[in-house]
Amino acid sequence: NAGVTQTPKFRILKIGQSMTLQCTQDMNHNYMYWYRQDPGMGLKLIYYSVGAGITDKGEVPNGYNVSRSTTEDFPLRLELAAPSQTSVYFCASRDPRGPGANVLTFGAGSRLTVL
C-alpha cells in the first residue's frame, strides 16, 4: 500500500522556468490537497479537489495551477517560477466517508528551490 506518492523529492529551478509536481494516491480518496510549507512555518493550502474534474483555490493559489483528470492523480503546475515559490510542497488526501473522514494522509514532500 503506497499511500500518497510525490515526485520529484527535490528540484532546483531557474527563475522563469516551469515544472509540474506529481501526486498520486492509491487509496481511492476523493479529496486531495496541495500545501506549501515555508521554513519554520505551518502549512498553507494552495489548491484542493473533491473529485475528478473538480478543483478550487485555497489560501495561496497565485502562481500555481492544478488539474484532476482521475481520482488517483492531482498534479501541481508552477508557471514562471519565482524565488518566492521556494518551499516544501506536500500533497495529501482523505476519504470524506467512514471513520477516517477527517484524517489526511500525506506524501513525503517535494523540496523546490528557485534560483
Binding site: Y35, L45, V103, L104, A108
Partner: protein
C-alpha cells in the same frame, strides 16, 4: 493573519518537563485535528476533537477543545526527545471542503 494561530512559535524544554501548545481559531471549530511532523518528513495524525469540552489522551499527549470551540491545547507530560518535531493544528471548513492548518509550533527536547 491566519485563521488558525498557534503559540508559542517555538519551544525548547528539558527532558522530563511538561509543556502546552495552544491553537486559536478566528471562527468556531467544527473539528480540530492535531498532527506532528518530524523534521523533513510529512505529517502524522495525532488526535481529533469535535465536541466542546472534549478531551483526548494518547500515551503522554492530551488534547482539549474549549467549550466555545475556538481554542484547543495540546499538553505533553514528561517530555522525551522523541516528542521533538513540529506540531500543527488543523481544521476543516464544512461547506467549502477546505482543510487548513495553523502556524505550527517547533518543539525541541533537550536530553
Amino acid at each position: 493573519s491566519q485563521e488558525l494561530e498557534q503559540s508559542p512559535q517555538s519551544l525548547i524544554v528539558q527532558e522530563g518537563k511538561n509543556l502546552t501548545i495552544n491553537c486559536t481559531s478566528s471562527k468556531t471549530l467544527y473539528g480540530l485535528y492535531w498532527y506532528k511532523q518530524k523534521y523533513g518528513e510529512g505529517l502524522i495524525f495525532l488526535m481529533m476533537l469535535q465536541k466542546g469540552g472534549e478531551e483526548k489522551s494518547h500515551e503522554k499527549i492530551t488534547a482539549k477543545l474549549d467549550e466555545k470551540k475556538q481554542q484547543s491545547s495540546l499538553h505533553i507530560t514528561a517530555s522525551q526527545p522523541s516528542h521533538a518535531g513540529i506540531y500543527l493544528c488543523g481544521a476543516d471548513r464544512p461547506g467549502t471542503y477546505k482543510y487548513i492548518f495553523g502556524t505550527g509550533t517547533r518543539l525541541k527536547v533537550l536530553a
